[in-house]
């Protein structure tokens, strides 16, 4: 029974980066997308910019997919804990970064609508949040390389 639970947690860890990344991207893109739609109602142009910025939180799900495939191997009781730990923690990092990036993007869109000249600067906070997601992604890949193939 214990082995079953350990292997179950291993599978959870395997799918977690993808699932949690997707949840984060959904929420982030929804928030930023709503801001983009609102901004379109109040401006005469720059719609492409708004939609482009609102799609920024979608990258986390891509990182999640890559981590999932890197972790993918036959799950055994020996390697399940490491897959669980890397998968869940990287997934949480991706999810939260997507949510907060969505909030940054919504604020950026709101600011750009009033002052188009601050476009570059306004997406800097969202880019910084993206940087943290990339850290979580890269080091998850590095650590995943150390898990033995079975």
């Amino acid at each position: 029974m214990t082995e079953f639970i350990v292997i179950f947690l291993g599978w959870m860890g395997l799918f977690a980066p993808m699932a949690l990344g997707a949840i984060g991207s959904m929420i982030g893109c929804t928030v930023a997308g709503q801001a983009a739609i609102g901004a379109m109602l109040d401006s005469e142009g720059g719609y492409g910019r708004y939609v482009g910025v609102s799609a920024m939180p979608s990258s986390q799900v891509v990182y999640g997919i890559v981590i999932m495939f890197t972790l993918n191997r036959t799950i055994t009781a020996e390697i399940a804990p490491s897959i669980f730990a890397i998968g869940i923690l990287s997934g949480l990092a991706l999810m939260l970064s997507a949510i907060y990036q969505g909030q940054c993007c919504a604020s950026a869109i709101h600011a750009v609508k009033a002052k188009p000249e601050v476009f570059g600067l306004s997406i800097a906070p969202a880019s910084i949040v993206e940087g943290f997601a990339v850290f979580a992604f890269i080091f998850a890949l590095v650590l995943a390389g150390g898990i033995p193939q079975t």
Binding site: I27, L41, H110
Partner: protein, 230 residues
């Protein structure tokens, strides 16, 4: 929690931002018709709350009746508002009005109210009744704007007083709104600030009309003088 904090992202992003400075503003950033169209995105509960808030703060709601009745009705309506942050925001505004009404009543020569009988909101009625004969009701250290308001009331400078009060409300709303970006309180603060600009812009329009009339009168007098010479 995220859903509440970003409930009205689209609505607020669709509204043009307010100018940072009230006194340099000459018109509202969006017409009331457009604003009402956007506010149609509010859900029923929030729309009711917003209507209560606007009714509470609009002078036409005051209507006829004694001060005590008006205060009682306002308290009842205030209790119906669902959000504590908004209740406090509105209570602050009603407290401001309580203080200004006390200054005006005293300036009009009304007698000191008996203990605990001054009709108003918040903690100030107690201090107003107790310190009626003190220049700033003994609370100037808590409200730095009060001495200036008292001076303006004493000098019958209604326009300057209104300017001071509207700016006070504007700054307070800006401060309180700094923690709210896309939630319902942010919508309410936007509407309250819109109302302040609207009042201010109307004052400016009224001033402009008055000045225009003065100029026309002056020109007519000159014309009549010139005509008399002919």
């Amino acid at each position: 929690m995220i859903a509440e904090r970003f409930k009205y992202t689209m609505l607020l992003a669709s509204l043009p931002p307010h100018a940072p400075d009230l006194l340099s503003t000459t018109q509202t950033p969006v017409s009331r018709i457009q604003l009402d169209k956007r506010l149609a995105l509010l859900d029923a509960r929030d729309a009711e709350d917003l209507q209560r808030i606007e009714t509470l703060l609009h002078w036409s709601h005051v209507g006829m009746g004694t001060d005590e009745e008006i205060v009682r009705k306002s308290h009842e309506m205030l209790e119906l508002i669902n959000d504590d942050f908004l209740k406090n925001l509105i209570r602050w505004r009603l407290e401001l009005r309580t203080l200004v009404s006390a200054l005006r009543k005293r300036h009009a020569g009304m007698p000191a109210p008996e203990k605990n009988t001054f009709a108003g909101f918040g903690k100030w009625p107690f201090f107003i009744a107790r310190n009626w004969h003190e220049p700033d009701f003994g609370i100037a250290h808590l409200l730095p704007w009060l001495p200036q308001a008292r001076e303006l009331v004493a000098q019958n400078k209604s326009y300057e007083l209104e300017k001071l009060l509207l700016n006070l409300v504007w700054q307070h709303c800006a401060r309180e709104g700094s923690q709210h970006y896309f939630d319902f309180p942010a919508v309410v603060i936007y509407v309250l600030r819109w109302n302040v600009i609207n009042r201010w812009a109307n004052y400016n329009a009224a001033n402009a009309i008055e000045r225009f009339d003065q100029l026309v009168d002056a020109e007519l007098q000159d014309f009549m003088l010139d005509f008399g010479r002919i």
